[in-house]
């Protein structure tokens, strides 16, 4: 298939394809990070993760409408405001849900799965009732669209760069929070031994609440960022949920590093195969590969060794 092209063309395509793989990687990490925090640190499976993302997307939509109507001169910067608001909105909802629902279920992690599934149905219907059943189009500031031409034939997408930058920032912040801050120490202490953590004076309830809120908040930011590359509608969250779960499972549940490694593996495999094969086949082969490896190594790529 490459015989018709010059070396320079091939080179630039490979650069762009590598870049496409990196974008996909960033998207996967961003999707999975919130879920990985909640699942890895708390053992709670949040089936409503996609709906928290879409909440962020809707917040972005309304922020853009607000800026268009009232502050058109500042429209270029609205996205940063929107991401902040998305974090707060999804985080606040997460905190409420933790208080109302999740905290009663810590001894029954499987039940959180059912309850959050119910929550996702309710949220979908609420979005549909309040925001309408159709998709909404989120308008982006002009500077975020289009691409930068590095050479004559190599172009990189600005929104791709944006997602990559955002993912890097959020990952670093989360890593610092988890492994360098006092709060992170508390979280890890609670994960390792809840009773002992409580005994040494850690307010485990508070830690749980904020961890859950953080995970949901990150989902909100992810949803906000994905308005650049995807759709915003009541059921759009469902588009991401399968990939998200696969990334987390494949990475090994309790490990942030695992999540990142697995996002990298899956995204590179998928993007390379999509280039050489057709789209549907690439997806199937990626998924089969993931399942095959999970059969051989069901605990995922990385696992935290905890004595039980």
């Amino acid at each position: 298939m490459f015989s018709d092209y010059s070396l320079a063309e091939l080179g630039s395509i490979f650069v762009m394809q590598g870049f496409a793989g990196l974008i996909l990687f960033s998207v996967f990490v961003l999707m999975a990070l919130g879920l990985a925090i909640i699942f890895g640190q708390m053992g709670v499976i949040n089936m409503a993760h996609g709906e928290f993302m879409i909440l962020g997307a809707y917040v972005t939509y309304f922020t853009s409408q607000f800026f268009l109507n009232y502050l058109p001169s500042l429209f270029g910067g609205y996205f940063f405001v929107a991401m902040g608001l998305a974090f707060l909105a999804s985080g606040a909802l997460g905190m409420f849900i933790e208080w109302a629902m999740i905290r009663h279920l810590y001894k029954r992690p499987l039940d959180t799965l059912l309850a959050t599934w119910g929550l996702s149905l309710i949220l979908q219907q609420l979005y549909r009732s309040f925001f309408g059943p159709r998709e909404v189009g989120v308008e982006l500031p002009e500077w975020m669209m289009g691409s930068i031409a590095l050479t004559d034939s190599v172009e990189v997408q600005i929104n791709g760069l944006f997602v990559m930058g955002l993912t890097t920032v959020i990952t670093i912040v989360v890593a610092l929070l988890m492994y360098r801050s006092r709060w992170g120490k508390q979280v890890r202490a609670v994960v390792q031994n809840r009773i002992m953590a409580g005994a040494v004076g850690i307010n485990t309830e508070k830690v749980d609440r904020y961890t859950f809120a953080l995970g949901c908040g990150i989902a909100g930011v992810a949803g906000s960022a994905f308005t650049m590359i995807g759709s915003t509608g009541p059921t759009s969250g469902q588009l991401y949920i399968v990939d998200t779960f696969l990334v987390v499972v494949f990475g090994g549940a309790a490990s942030l590093l695992g999540t990142i490694a697995s996002a990298f593996t899956i995204s590179q495999a998928q993007s390379t195969m999509e280039f050489f094969l057709s789209g549907s086949m690439a997806k199937v082969l990626t998924l089969l590969g993931v399942v095959g490896i999970l059969m051989l190594r069901p605990q995922g790529l990385f696992t935290l060794k905890v004595r039980r």
């Binding site: 499987l110 059912l114 309850a115 119910g118 149905l121 499972v249 199937v284 399942v291 999970l294 059969m295």
Partner: protein
């Protein structure tokens, strides 16, 4: 503990009531259309029953029971489709004698894996064998490496998602997202007539009662007690010298087998099979039937399935735009407030009073677990 009868007296009464309900009361009280709907719901009850065994007793929550329901259903649908695609029926196609969707996808010969489904006995074997084999592979890979709990739940879910994408993607061989539609006859017997629907309803109900009895048998056998022990303290069972993985695989395969029968009966009664049953959504919905009925109650699975589906149908008829709220609320309410479902309510409110009435304590409560500490 050494009672040899495999059903206690109260369990006999329970089974008799269920049998009376689905064999006599429902057929007499609802019209043909509604009865067909009930028949459809009862096929889900097979799945719920399997989940009681593997989730309630074995402590293994599978979010992929739709896989087995779907595989069983597809096996049956493939047989029916081949029969419906006789050369005379399909002479308009460029290759007569193969299913219509294959012809649309430029396939000119029947793929090899469709061949066994030309024969009914072979199909009946495969309806059970394929899903059970699949369950065995999953179970073997997971349980021998001691994967369980939430992690197992998500992996089964991922497998369900993958299988859906596979079926949808390989539409020339599977019918794709449309599924396998327009099934007409079973060995020449038209399954679409009202009479046939009645007969299939009773066959279905009979099979379900048969599975209920099997479930009770397993529950009261030594195996059932080991399952409960395993769920409570897996390591102690392992240290006592039992092969924990082996028992888990068995109960998972049993649940898969039940689901497969349900799937096959679904294909027969409804007349088609769709990949939407294999995916995540139906798999989780089937878990909620079990949870509503009470995850430890074999008969509760049937009541739970009927109740949720009845609610779903009537909700969506009267408030089509709001039924998701009700369903979502039900999920949350059951999990938060009634973790043992209908059976739990029955045990804590109805049974004590019944006991007073008859002046006799019921000899065994379903599952023998106190409230508030359901299986992890």
């Amino acid at each position: 503990m050494k009672s040899t009868a495999f059903l206690s007296r109260s369990e006999w009464i329970g089974v008799a009531i269920v049998a009376a309900l689905i064999l006599v009361v429902l057929p007499l009280s609802v019209d043909g259309f509604r009865l067909n709907l009930v028949g459809k719901y009862l096929t889900y009850a097979f799945v719920a029953l399997g989940l009681v065994m593997c989730w309630g007793y074995g402590g293994i929550l599978s979010l992929g029971q739709g896989i087995f329901f779907g595989l069983g259903g597809y096996c049956m649908a493939m047989f029916l489709k081949l029969e419906a695609s006789s050369v005379e029926n399909t002479k308009i196609q460029s290759t007569p004698g193969i299913p219509d969707f294959m012809d649309w996808n430029q396939i000119t010969a029947l793929p090899w894996f469709w061949e066994p489904f030309r024969s009914l006995p072979m199909t009946i074997i495969l309806v059970i064998a394929v899903p059970v084999f699949f369950a065995f592979i999953i179970g073997f890979a997971m349980f021998t490496r001691r994967v369980g709990g939430t992690y197992f739940a998500i992996i089964t879910q991922a497998i369900a998602a993958i299988l859906t994408i596979l079926i949808v993607g390989q539409q020339g061989y599977t019918g794709g997202i449309n599924g396998i539609t327009d099934l007409r006859t079973l060995n020449g017997w038209d399954i679409r007539t009202d009479d046939a629907k009645y007969i299939l309803y009773f066959v279905n109900a009979g099979l379900l009662l048969g599975c209920v009895l099997i479930a009770y048998f397993v529950k009261h056998s030594k195996l059932g007690r080991i399952l409960v022990a395993m769920r409570e303290k897996e390591d102690r069972v392992r240290f006592s010298g039992y092969s924990v993985a082996g028992f888990k695989i068995f109960v998972f395969c049993l649940a898969a087998g039940f689901s497969a029968i349900g799937g096959a009966m679904f294909a027969l009664q409804v007349g088609f099979m769709s990949p939407s049953f294999v995916g995540i959504v139906p798999s989780i919905e089937m878990v909620i039937y079990t949870a509503v009925g009470g995850r430890l109650s074999i008969l509760g699975a049937i009541y739970g399935t009927l109740l949720v589906n009845w609610a779903k149908t009537s909700f969506s008829e009267s408030f089509p735009e709001l039924w998701l709220l009700g369903l979502g609320g039900l999920f949350i309410a059951v999990v938060l407030a009634f973790p043992n479902g209908l059976a739990g309510l029955y045990q804590s409110y109805v049974e004590p009073r019944l006991g007073k009435l008859t002046g006799k304590k019921s000899d065994e409560t379903n599952g023998a677990l106190p409230q508030g500490s359901p299986a992890e």
